[in-house]
Subunit: 382 residues, 2 copies
């Protein structure tokens, strides 16, 4: 694909934002990203909006028209939905729109309002991203990822405690991120003493239910001769696999991630070892470990050791989830895939604040829907 | 935009298909459209899926992964949602994907399962496409369109009876379409004696709740030297306006339709008077009348006279909704925008059966979300 320029980006506070509606979150992220881009609202030619749950939780499915109303815009606005990968898919559609030659600019927004709602509705809303047989058998998402975690632990002789390390690291990162849902550190003891939600996964290994939004302004680099440090999306790929776990060959890997990653490296012409940093989909601690293996950073069965030994921690060789990840920065599902791109953009612009990764010039985002039925990978570089 | 080639198309039966699930409908439309295209499933490089209600009615939001599972495919699959314009938006995204140069082929599917469900859930699901203030005030979609109809009748001195003619015509067309939900004619008396749902709109002026799916295979014309009669999408445009009616200047027109149409004519380099036939969004009889004016076919306030005098009937100057339209062919919401393209494709291929429009070579589709917050226009030609 042709490289796409990122002109500006914004992430709202993530957390339990009871005083903010979905409209408020969409408005803030959009207007602040446009401001950051240096463009005016009138220069935005198309909008993509990633959201999963508004139809279930906010009684609002026609988000394109809602967006038109909130921002008083009449351009094409497209809502895409791919469970927790809605944001990543929206970014990818933005890239396709720019590369179609029909649009010079695109605003991509991811937004979700999940708290201050009936919890039973949130749970059943979230489960619409799983297969019917999984819903019927009473499985929850933590239950589904627990099946993967169990298989992983048994196959690679890892201990239950080994699953805690992605969470510890990501909470450390979040402690440096003022926009994180949980900006504080946690200890191994706290994780191991937290409730067992679905064995072997404990509460502090699960991402939370959050509110939040994020947005980026994409542009055709041929049309915008922006000065200063420029950040491009040099690869954008997406792959699919079966919705339900029972149709998969192996529960310790996600083929859609492997396929999307392989295509992305090819598009960008890089090897995974060249990456400065990554934001990966750590909806549960096991998911980060599997992601790092599926993305080709570590061999199979090696991920948990490499996370534990600190090399993917800020200050280590190749930091992963310096935002705090889904676990500690928060997981407003439709926003997550966009927020990952915002984080890498900020890092490459060297405006990452206390969590800035030194000399970062090449980053990857990895966003997953459900248990891996959809996976999206983007590579950003200077 | 660059022209996009349509290689094949398929529409399932529309109606109350209690023996068919959403999965069944998606599978049939997809496989039959692929077969019609002459390609194999492996040659499909990306999929777009338009659907509105699966998250509310079928407990299924992650349709991309469901699709991957049903068809055993691992390519990028993107669900788009724009209320009743979901299908049209999906077609448009397919065009952008082809024109990005990244994909040679795209399958676009629209599907909806609405019957054999709890009717209260269907109603509340449909209302998620309206604004919060409209939902809170107890308005239904027929109520919202009734507000437009009332304003129209009063401003243009039309009679309540004048609203019946789009329905009469479309039922006549549906009587020639074996795939229509209601393949029979109705009389003026039947319309005028049918229940008043929201004054001035009567039951036989409202589109039904239907099940159904439709699919098309799009391709890059530079890569496919197809023999025989070739049909292209020569224009694809989308526009937005406020979600709620209370923020509009005029209730007798839909600005998003006007804007999308204007762009489409410019893209295709044609005038509306050159069109051989149209499939327009007649969710309620007033909607067809307004659409024909907004699309520039007739002057404001003239639409109802021109429908009544028969010139948009099969055999007339420029037939509109020869499929039977939403009213009589049926309105499985996510499928409608795709089905419109299937109908025009079939007509341009001269395989329209009993409802074939003679010498058709240039057709337009017009798909609307909600009360017009989203409008999508496509132009197809030989």
């Amino acid at each position: 694909m042709n490289k796409v320029l990122i002109l500006g980006a914004w992430q709202t506070q993530f957390g339990e934002l009871w005083q903010k509606s979905l409209d408020d979150l969409i408005r803030e992220a959009s207007l602040k990203a446009i401001k950051d881009s240096g463009l005016s609202k009138k220069q935005i030619e198309i909008v993509f909006l990633g959201n999963k749950l508004a139809g279930n939780l906010s009684g609002q499915n026609h988000l394109s028209a809602l967006f038109a109303q909130i921002l008083n815009m009449d351009v094409p606005i497209i809502r895409v939905e791919a469970a927790c990968a809605s944001g990543g898919v929206a970014i990818r559609q933005g890239c396709l729109a720019i590369n179609s030659g029909e649009y010079k600019t695109a605003l991509v927004v991811g937004a979700e309002k999940m708290t201050d709602m009936d919890l039973a509705e949130v749970s059943s809303g979230l489960m619409t991203a799983a297969g019917q047989e999984e819903q019927d058998s009473g499985l929850s998402f933590v239950g589904l990822y627990a099946l993967m975690a169990k298989t992983y632990l048994s196959r690679f002789k890892a201990k239950q405690e080994d699953l805690a390390y992605p969470a510890l690291k990501n909470h450390f990162h979040a402690s440096l991120n003022p926009k994180a849902h949980f900006p504080f550190q946690i200890s191994l003891r706290q994780v191991m003493e937290s409730s067992l939600i679905a064995s072997p996964l404990r509460m502090l290994e699960c991402s939370p239910i959050s509110d939040g939004a994020a947005a980026v302004v994409l542009a055709d680099p041929k049309k915008f001769k922006k000065r200063g440090r420029k950040v491009f999306i040099s690869a954008s790929s997406q792959a699919s696999q079966s919705l339900v776990l029972s149709k998969r060959k192996d529960l310790t890997e996600i083929e859609a991630t492997q396929k999307a990653a392989c295509q992305a490296y090819k598009q960008a012409g890089i090897k995974p070892q060249e990456l400065s940093l990554l934001e990966v989909h750590d909806c549960f601690s096991i998911a980060e470990i599997m992601a790092l293996e599926d993305l080709g950073l570590f061999d199979k069965g090696e991920g948990y050791v490499r996370v534990k030994n600190g090399e993917v921690r800020l200050g280590g060789k190749r930091p992963v989830n310096v935002s705090g990840g889904l676990k500690a920065c928060g997981h407003p599902v439709g926003a997550t895939g966009v927020k990952q791109v915002v984080e890498i953009f900020d890092q490459l612009k060297q405006r990452g604040g206390q969590k800035q990764v030194k000399d970062s010039c090449l980053g990857l985002t990895h966003n997953v829907g459900g248990t891996g039925g959809t996976a999206v990978v983007h590579i950003l570089q200077l």
